[in-house]
């Protein structure tokens, strides 16, 4: 296995938070329709507070640091924070919409030694992208920024989210990424809002489009392997952990809350009240998350997909039970392999249940017309 994989194994054995995702603000110059955040500033951390946390993370052994938000460049001190992180020798990755990146910012990011920049682009067509970001002109500015960053020799990835608004454009977006000379990832995941509002899940694409995506070798690699029926699970699989959240990674909000992951909003401690190592070692919420093994999952432990499913414990948590199923991932496993999950079987389903929005349309079209 790769060296990075071995380091992750080692970090797991020693309980080291190797990767941390730090959101420095929830303020944003865009209002993406699928975003899970509340963009008002409720008292984000100061420069000093963030630097203090970076010191603590370096002490704790964190190596991979991702800065994100909101839009990071809305913070005036952002480049100062990056410089501080680089002095502490973090490997820094930045997620940004790049709308505010011009030559100066690109040069700075290069000079400071940012290892990777991830930028969301939702289409090759400006009108489709801008309809999602709700910021006119954003596509033009974002793609121009990508060129500046590439000119500086920086490593850039375009991250696209597959949703109802850009369903027909994902190959176009992929081609755009290719033309710009950047890596491309496509993710059909839309998460509920952090405040518990599930209505944005209506943006999730119908499951029936997923087989095409999953059978695309340019996205998944070897299709025969990717879509194969899962192996009969063994003891090693049942003893496995759901994912790195809480084990070798965690998430910090602009308000100093620690969660296992940005997609797993379980408040586990606040850095304005406790030291990071204190939270990391002693939080009862993190201890609870860490105790979970595949065999402890109420439904999934008996599912053939348990070793290969993309099951996100955070999505399961938001669905009601961190040990329960994540219906969105049941759907993905089904459309990837054609085989229903245990969760589906228990509900007597041979196909995933249609989303609530779709059911409404089928029952009462008249009600939907007004929406």
């Amino acid at each position: 296995m790769s060296l990075m994989y071995e380091m992750n194994e080692k970090a797991f054995e020693h309980g080291v938070p190797l990767s941390v995702h730090l959101d420095v603000t929830y303020r944003c110059n865009e209002r993406c329709v699928h975003c899970y955040l509340d963009h008002d500033d409720h008292g984000e951390m100061t420069t000093g507070e963030i630097k203090g946390i970076l010191d603590q993370l370096a002490e704790a052994g964190t190596f991979l640091l991702t800065f994100s938000g909101g839009e990071v460049f809305l913070r005036r001190d952002f480049l100062e924070l990056v410089a501080y992180a680089r002095k502490l020798l973090f490997n820094v990755k930045v997620k940004t919409n790049a709308v505010m990146i011009r030559e100066h910012e690109a040069q700075e990011l290069r000079r400071l030694g940012v290892e990777q920049i991830q930028i969301s682009v939702y289409s090759h067509r400006a009108e489709v992208h801008d309809a999602i970001t709700k910021l006119p002109g954003s596509w033009a500015r974002t793609t121009r920024a990508i060129r500046f960053l590439k000119e500086q020799g920086l490593k850039v990835t375009i991250a696209n989210v597959l949703m109802n608004g850009n369903l027909d454009d994902h190959k176009g977006a992929q081609a755009l990424a290719h033309d710009l000379g950047v890596t491309y990832t496509l993710d059909p995941t839309v998460s509920p809002k952090m405040d518990g509002d599930h209505s944005i899940l209506n943006l999730r694409v119908p499951g029936s489009v997923l087989p095409t995506v999953f059978h695309d070798a340019s996205l998944v690699g070897n299709v025969d392997e990717y879509c194969a029926a899962p192996s009969t699970p063994g003891e090693d699989i049942l003893n496995g952990i759901p994912c790195s959240a809480g084990h070798t990674s965690c998430y910090i909000t602009p308000y100093a809350d620690v969660f296992p992951c940005v997609q797993f909003p379980l408040p586990s401690g606040n850095l304005r009240q406790q030291k990071f190592m204190d939270i990391w070692r002693n939080s009862s919420q993190l201890a609870d998350v860490r105790s979970i093994r595949a065999r402890d999952l109420t439904t999934c432990s008996g599912c053939g997909h348990v070793g290969t499913c993309s099951r996100c414990p955070g999505l399961a948590f938001m669905e009601g039970d961190m040990r329960g199923p994540s219906t969105a991932d049941c759907e993905k496993s089904f459309y990837r392999t054609g085989l229903p999950s245990e969760n589906m079987r228990r509900q007597g389903l041979t196909m995933p249940a249609p989303s609530p929005m779709l059911q409404l349309v089928q029952i009462a079209p008249a009600l939907v017309q007004g929406l």
Partner: protein, 105 residues
């Protein structure tokens, strides 16, 4: 035999994990791990201490290796890291560009 001087590049990220040092080049994302001997050399690579001194002071006493063996191994090691751009190697002392915190946490 001329003295060699070594300095950590600033275009890297690093962190110690259970006795090994992880080093990643931020320019091309190549990733290395340094064992305990290599870590000792890495942490002492300040640009002004000759490699022979680093070896006799930090390597030989800590690890049971003869000075000659240690120096040969060290020279090979530093040239290897230099080819990947994460260590500067020179026959002259290397001035301090950007004070990287020694060894990191």
């Amino acid at each position: 035999m001329n003295n060699l001087y070594i300095a950590r590049s600033s275009a890297i990220a690093s962190r110690v994990l259970a006795g090994e040092t992880m080093v990643m080049s931020v320019t091309d994302s190549t990733f290395f791990t340094l064992n305990e001997v290599a870590t000792a050399i890495w942490q002492a690579a300040d640009g002004v201490t000759p490699l022979t001194d680093i070896v006799t002071r930090s390597v030989c006493p800590e690890f049971e290796i003869t000075p000659q063996e240690a120096l040969t191994d060290a020279e090979e090691f530093v040239r290897e890291l230099a080819t990947h751009g994460i260590l500067q190697v020179s026959e002259q002392p290397i001035p301090n560009q950007d004070a990287a915190i020694a060894g990191a946490a």
